[in-house]
Amino acid sequence: MNSLKSRITLLVGICLLLLLAAQTLGLRIIPAALVQDYVATRLEHDADTLYARLLDDTDPVNVFARTVGIIYETPLSGHYFRIDTGETVLRSRSLWDEDLSIERLPSGEQLINRLPGPAGQSLLVYSRGYQVRGAPVTISVAEDVSAMERTVARLERQLLAVMLLGIGLVLFLQFLIVRHALRPVDAAVQACRKLEAGGSAPMTARAPREIEPLVDAVNRLIRHHGLRLERTRRALGNVSHALKTPLAVLTQVTDELEERGDRAAADALRPQLKIIRNTIERELHRARLAGRDHPGAGFNARAELEPLVEALNRLYQSRVHIALDIQGETVPVDSEDMLELFGNLLDNACKWARSQVRVTLRQGEGIHAVVEDDGPGVEEADLGHLGQPGMRLDEATPGHGLGLAIVHDVVAQYSGEIRYGRSLELGGLKVEVRIPA
């Protein structure tokens, strides 16, 4: 149970259920006790009255019965009394020919108990032992409480139903409240996820006072992260650029050493220089790669590739005809990354082509591009080596052998796919690139 929402819901739910249980218990005990107390007090008064009449008079039963109340005269009225003098048992007329089985009590003792009465009645019986002219007398007075009990039970059920409904409503409300209160947390989590993926989207959701510091902190973190990313990129770029010119000088010096006859020194320097150069080149390009979460305005293949072809035409003096076949919409990927990808692919194709390069590009759900040339192509066995940094299959063609490695970096950045093969129509190398949406 690691969810804040579930935990709060559970706690509140348990509290409410405990409260409900206590209330139910109270509802069961309190009304019954109240009824019993109330009835018992009245029965006690009636018993005392009967006792007083017994002391005053030795008349037969019916004489003092009337003085207690007409209700004891009416048959099965629900109000009964019984006087046990030891010799005789006097019963109220209302009992008709029924009797109540009541033990004799010693003088001064009293007992309240429940007995089943006539006609299915449920009786509350008050009995007490008295002393009348030296003889022990037990007076019992009873009242039917079944109607009262039924009323109490109905009331209880109704209250319970209302309370259950209330608790359901409260649980639902508290779920809504918790969810609403925790919404800024969700926004913070979302923003952090975006951040993790390289994006930067400061949160704008209004947050409660308790959560506002968290939102502020996350926003600050996001800004800080963005700034740091930018700083890192710029620093890396600057370092690379600052190193490149001195490196060019060192390369020159090495060439001069060799020309002056110091071959050994030149041979020792060259591999090191090559490592430095390749590392700088590759890392600079990597640092430039933005990745999926900086789409900017998106990549408009037609607007980007036509100038590229124009530039390549100038570079290769239109020796190679580049045919562009582009269809589809602008795709939300970084245009610099894509220009880097297609620049290297097309440059490579132009280097090898005899006279033709063909680019077939489909946009929409991602990018699917095929670049073919009519050059010599690459042997089946060597296809696997393409795109490995520093790997060049031909040392005579100018270039650092990094072009395809950079293409691979871009493709990897976008979790894309690259496949090499032979062009069926043009006969040269065919490169197929897929960038998922």
Binding site: D255, A311, G343
Partner: protein, 220 residues
């Protein structure tokens, strides 16, 4: 052939200049954009090597300024910023080639030679004159049988320029402009001496004198 290097790095510029001079090229060096632009506008260069990251005036602006006034000499961009965005911009602004730093001297030289050939009326890889072939690596004349005739640096420069522009009347001024650096003393009488020496080595009729106009190389 005359080349201008516009490069602000105090080490790289002079070294490049030295290296290209050894190839028999007359090389000028400008260490900032404003001087570079001015030299490019006033001197008849056969090739310009342009760095884009100049301190005062961006290389691209310099290039755009040249192209705007109709200068069409080949321009090779040499820069540390070699992303494709910059390449496309540079090439569309009128550059003819693009080389990222750092680079191998051979790669730069190959591109320089290619651009120089491209800018000349004769674009052959190998220059021939009579029975001789001009060996651009060793800067001498070689016959098919392997017989070598040595050339001095100035003789080589002069002959190469003639061979790249055969049949054209080349004035002394034009020749000296394309053979000598900006700072060097240009004495057109010296040119006459070199022309005479070439005639001694290659034959009388090869280079014709047009009085008051200049010289013409006559290829058979």
């Amino acid at each position: 052939m005359r080349v201008l290097i516009v490069e602000d790095d105090a080490e790289l510029g002079p070294r490049l200049r030295q290296r290209l001079a050894r190839e028999g090229l007359a090389v000028d060096l400008a260490v900032n954009g404003i001087d570079g632009r001015h030299l490019g506008e006033t001197e008849p260069y056969d090739l310009i090597i342009l760095d884009l990251g100049l301190p005062d005036l961006p290389g691209l602006d310099v290039l755009a300024a040249w192209r705007k006034i109709g200068l069409s000499m080949p321009v090779l961009i040499l820069t540390a910023r070699d992303g494709w965005r910059e390449r496309v911009e540079g090439l569309r602004a009128g550059a003819d080639d693009y080389l990222g730093k750092p680079f191998h001297a051979e790669e730069l030289l190959a591109r320089v030679q290619a651009l120089l050939r491209r800018g000349s009326p004769v674009r052959d890889m190998v220059l021939r004159v009579g029975a001789w072939e001009l060996d651009e690596q060793r800067q001498c004349l070689v016959t098919e049988s392997g017989e070598e005739t040595p050339l001095t640096a100035t003789e080589y420069r002069l002959l190469r320029y003639f061979l790249r522009h055969p049949g054209q009347v080349l004035s002394k001024t034009r020749l000296s402009e394309h053979l000598y650096e900006y700072e060097s003393e240009r004495d057109s009488n010296v040119l006459e001496v070199y022309v005479r020496r070439l005639r001694d080595k290659l034959g009388r009729d090869l280079i014709e004198t047009r009085r008051g106009q200049g010289y013409v190389l006559r290829l058979p």
